[in-house]
Subunit: 213 residues, 2 copies
């Protein structure tokens, strides 16, 4: 049983190449293909596909917005991005919009079909280069900042502050007087180059000075 497939790509030649590649023998049937995805919703309602191959750079709303729209109404339809673009911004936005895969147009036909199958079986699929960018982003996101050289006590006080405790409650938690807490906070504000509790909390979270649940 072959999977039904839509193609959105404004490059006619490439669309026809894909149609030639994705024959019944490959396990896919290209139901229809379009040069833009401005009317994707109606087209999907009319002829419900299992999988959509989506170009990014198209006239009209463009592929990324298309993904957002389609996934909102049909989250179960798989969508794989298929473009020449390798820039982080487009990758990130596509994946966040809900794309289930991201294959570069340079992918060889055999691997392309194989990737689509993996995708239909519940996995996700990315070209190695894309995967590498995604992992890079991952690593960056975990780097903890130690550049503010807070003392152990200051870190403790700041942690309670971020959790929403008042000076008085922090004093209780740390078994010190409220004046001590005030002093610590004052020092913390100086070290973080901020001037109030809310700003300190924002900076502490964004710079991962304190670790969250």
């Amino acid at each position: 049983m072959a999977y039904n497939l839509f193609i959105y790509d404004d490059n006619d030649r490439l669309r026809h190449t894909l149609e030639a590649l994705l024959t019944e023998a490959s396990g896919f049937v290209v139901k229809t293909s379009f040069g833009n995805c401005d009317h994707a919703i109606e087209q999907i309602r009319e002829n419900y596909p299992d999988l959509i191959i989506m170009d990014i750079n198209m006239p009209g709303m463009g592929g990324i917005n298309g993904v957002t729209l389609i996934k909102e109404l049909f989250p179960e339809i798989k969508i794989v991005m298929h473009t020449v673009f390798e820039d982080d911004e487009k990758i990130f936005n596509s994946l966040c919009a809900g794309a289930d895969g991201y294959l570069l147009k340079s992918t060889n036909p055999l691997k392309f079909v194989q990737s689509l199958h993996e995708l239909m079986e519940g996995g996700a699929s990315m070209s190695p280069f894309i995967a590498q960018r995604v992992l890079h982003f991952f690593r960056e996101s975990k780097k903890v900042n130690h550049q503010f050289s807070l003392t152990k006590r200051e870190l403790e006080v700041l942690t309670w502050l971020v959790k929403g405790h008042s000076y008085k409650m922090i004093a209780g938690e740390c078994s010190v007087t409220i004046d001590t807490v005030k002093k610590h906070l004052q020092n913390i504000y100086h070290k973080l180059h901020v001037s109030c509790a809310t700003e300190a909390v924002a900076k502490a979270i964004m710079h991962k000075i304190i670790l969250l649940d």
Copy 2:
């Protein structure tokens, strides 16, 4: 020219299977294989590999700590995780530790070798299931929370608060009196189920109610 390869895995049978698979014909040479990575640094110094296949669940320090250690000293050596584990925690920690790929032990031999080659050519490599988990994480990270039903004005006020502005400053930004700001904040606190500014800021950032730079 074949790539030099290390294997760290405490399962002897599997290690030998891999050694049999990764012959010169495959483009790899298994230099040595070990049952744990506690002495990885010395072993690497002694016989510098291009690529390391790393199990996670090993006696001693375990694969994830091993990756951290190795990548700190030899960031250019590729490391691919190779385990039966599919839980988000292990995936996330491995990738953040600096792993260049994550292949499940269920991967078929042909794809396994192919993936290693993709990795050596600068790409990253993940089993489809892993890729799917990573993308899932990605999406979650961008999903803006609308579940608190803040009004447009409340969102505006909250944004300024997160940026560290005082009530008075917010009043100026929004061209309203300070009492109005106080009222808005009061309503915001109720909607977010918090009781003070710091808690609101923490919740706003963590739940991505407001978008950061």
